[in-house]
Symmetry: C2
Subunit: 458 residues, 2 copies
């Protein structure tokens, strides 16, 4: 084998053609292939040389196929979440998205709060793993529960645990309170982030029907009894995507059903600061003496996507379980971000922002409804949601919501199809149209583009 | 039962004393207990009244016992992590802790970086879920791998994923690449955060022996073959707690063992900026053409606990798997923190900080070794670690490391016992003594206190 090691010169194309009785084209192609794989090296004017050990790992082309076995089956549920968080293409009008438009964010107040945090070196040091007591106390008070003023039930400072945003809080709860194979009950339709999380945690998801008054207590009671589930996820206030608020007459029966089943209710209170009409009812956690409600309150929705702060409230041993889980997940939330959050929510600018936001969301919600009335009258919802960021629009029977969303994107407007928000078969085709992500005049043009897409696909 | 319902007045203490033939002290105590439980209510000047239905759920005393069944078995591994992150009591000298002392943190540079971030409103907006490209590129370059300069192997910008700190990165990797019941190989002893995480994820942990030159490749090869494990966790640089660095002669065989087994190696490169002597060898990820190494690099250790930023590097389908898992876990890292991190690491102050840190860590490491030589000469390690934050001190055979740590705390010095760092039975009793958490003169006094505790317990 002399002459065949690293650095050895290959025979010329002519020699190889003769030796192997192959055409020069074939021989040249074979050499090009060897060069492409990094196994031989062409030195102009000198010839072709063996460039290294012929192990695939050493060539210029990495060999990842071994990962197929090591990684195993792919976990479901993440594609929709990725689509939800994708940045809209330039020039397209976003009638989709889970956050406020930049124009609606309290940019100046956020900058001032962060600048104040920058002048407090102590915020970089290590604090309690549960988060700063003053910020936890603020979150407890903001649940409006009796406990904050000394009464029974509801959440106190010690029950609160700070997390890096609402999804992080949700992830901690689901992982800490379930094992793979367990059942999770959800409203249907519901937030697709919980569906992705449940699938990645190996849970069985069982949908419970909801209507314009929120989840149906009779169906919840039946589902708890039938499945033996210990965990029910819901958004009682301006649910995403439907916009429904749990009706006052249903609150007690929902809590009673959960209590009777010895189950936990995850109250994802993502939209408390996004109220448009009237006053928001108190969270379910305020009427929960025995620790059945696990409360999640995020500031990301009402301030800015970059303010990744949420609080998780839970009482009894469940609170201890969640604190331990959070510790294993990521220790604690960055101190300067906690400091900036406290500066923000205790500044006079915060209430001003909430008032301005309320007015701006009303303008945009109504602009979207008017634009629909002008260009797509069949799609106007019978009742507008009293808060939140979205209209949940029912499409004519037989419409392909995913095809329509693709056609809309081609027309330059981003909408989100309804199907991924259902844990099972959807009852009817829907679109989720966000009014918070674009200015009113863009909303008008966006709906015009959507109407063109509908005309083309129907 | 007339007169015994809600609102009914209780008999006076005098009446009750007579009726039950009990002492007034006992009766008053019983009433105080009822008041404390919220069952009766004292109205000054009027008497004591039944205040509500005596159902446990409605009383002032919440009834959490139902949670026992709903929560099920407690998951192991979290207590040690909690102890590790506990703040030291006031007045005690910390020879324990995973972070730099405040005096060693680049406080001014951090404040300046955050102030600059505060002037950039765009950082509050939503960015790519993987993190800012410029910061990801910085992390890729900082691995010193060939890829950054265009060569084969190693990590590029697109392979990097930003996470909210090293523990968050680790949590994502472990959860995304395993299912409950899978086997995780670890060096022994090893970082107790990975042990807590593995236990909470339901993994089987199998220790692989390591010595002063890092993990033993022959044992790793055998363990991979014997268990069929697809995942091996290690800290090749200044391992926590042992301080060992993987010897140059072992790098190729460790990588070959992992490659032959079709497994992943998690390289927790937590201490790259904590080098004291000489230059750190390049990460294993720089010599990994086929994506076997998953690289974690954190800035929390070398800057401040509040800078919760780490990068996760992975190539091939594994990178995609991790990006999806991170999305489900917590979407993305707060933009202003990414901005501040970029400002920090690209400022001239960063290199100055690293140089000053190197000198300060050397002073403290040597101060700890000298103090041990003076007061506890049997405990001086034979070889000092070339970087990191800790000395791993072998105790005389038969010493109870946990008892000694408790006795040391009573003397006013916090040390961490060795036992929790072993996945199985420890080979010998150890203490982990941190030199980064206290100033040199306090280190001297801390060791004196430790010597007193040893004298008392032996």
């Amino acid at each position: 084998m002399a002459g065949s090691g690293v650095g050895a010169r290959l025979p010329s194309v002519r020699e190889l053609t003769a030796r192997h009785q192959a055409s020069p084209v074939t021989v040249a192609a074979a050499i090009r292939q060897l060069v492409a794989e990094g196994l031989v090296e062409a030195r102009p004017g000198q010839g072709t040389f063996v460039s290294g050990a012929p192990s695939p790992g050493r060539s210029g082309t990495p060999e990842f196929s071994w990962q197929t076995v090591a990684l195993g089956e792919r976990r479901a549920g993440e594609d929709e979440l990725r689509a939800l968080l994708a940045l809209p293409p330039a020039g397209a009008i976003p009638l989709s998205g889970g956050y406020l438009d930049v124009e609606l964010q309290p940019t100046a107040a956020l900058g001032a709060a962060l600048a104040r945090a920058a002048r407090q070196p102590a915020s970089w040091a290590r604090g309690p793993v549960e988060g700063r007591p003053d910020l936890r106390a603020w979150f407890a008070r903001s649940t409006g529960s009796a406990a904050a003023s000394g009464g029974a039930g509801g959440l106190r400072e010690d029950d609160m645990l700070l997390c890096a945003g609402g999804q992080a809080a949700l992830s901690t709860v689901v992982r800490a309170l379930t094992s793979p194979g367990d059942t999770l009950l959800v409203e249907s339709p519901t937030y697709l982030g919980i569906l992705a999380l449940a699938r990645s945690a190996g849970l069985r998801v069982v949908p419970v029907p909801a209507d314009a008054d929120g989840v149906r207590p009779d169906q919840l009671e039946a589902a708890l009894a039938y499945t033996g589930a210990r965990l029910f996820y819901c958004q009682p206030l301006y649910a995403n995507p439907s916009g429904a608020t749990l009706a006052p007459g249903r609150r007690a029966s929902v809590l009673a059903a959960v209590r009777a089943a010895g189950a936990f209710l995850i109250e994802d209170d993502y939209a408390r600061d996004l109220t448009i009409d009237g006053e928001a009812p108190p969270p379910l956690a305020a009427d929960d003496p025995d620790g059945h409600v696990i409360h999640i309150r995020s500031l990301t929705k009402s301030a800015a996507p970059g303010l990744r702060i949420a609080a998780l409230g839970a009482r009894g041993p469940a609170g201890a379980r969640l604190r331990s889980a959070r510790l294993v997940d990521d220790f604690f939330v960055a101190g300067p971000l906690q400091q900036a959050t406290l500066e923000l929510v205790t500044s006079p600018g915060w209430d001003r922002h909430r008032r301005a936001l309320r007015a701006a969301l009303r303008t945009r919600r109504d602009a979207l409804a008017s634009a629909l009335a002008r260009h797509l009258p069949d799609l106007v919802p019978s009742v507008l949601p009293r808060g939140g960021l979205h209209l949940w629009v029912r499409l004519p029977d037989g419409t392909d919501d995913i095809g329509l969303s693709a056609a809309a994107a081609a027309e330059g407007v981003i909408v989100f199809p309804g199907r991924p928000w259902y844990p099972a078969e959807p009852q009817a085709p829907h679109l989720r149209l966000t009014y918070a992500a674009a200015a009113p005049d863009l909303i008008e043009e966006g709906v015009r583009r959507l109407a063109r897409a509908m005309a083309k696909t129907s």
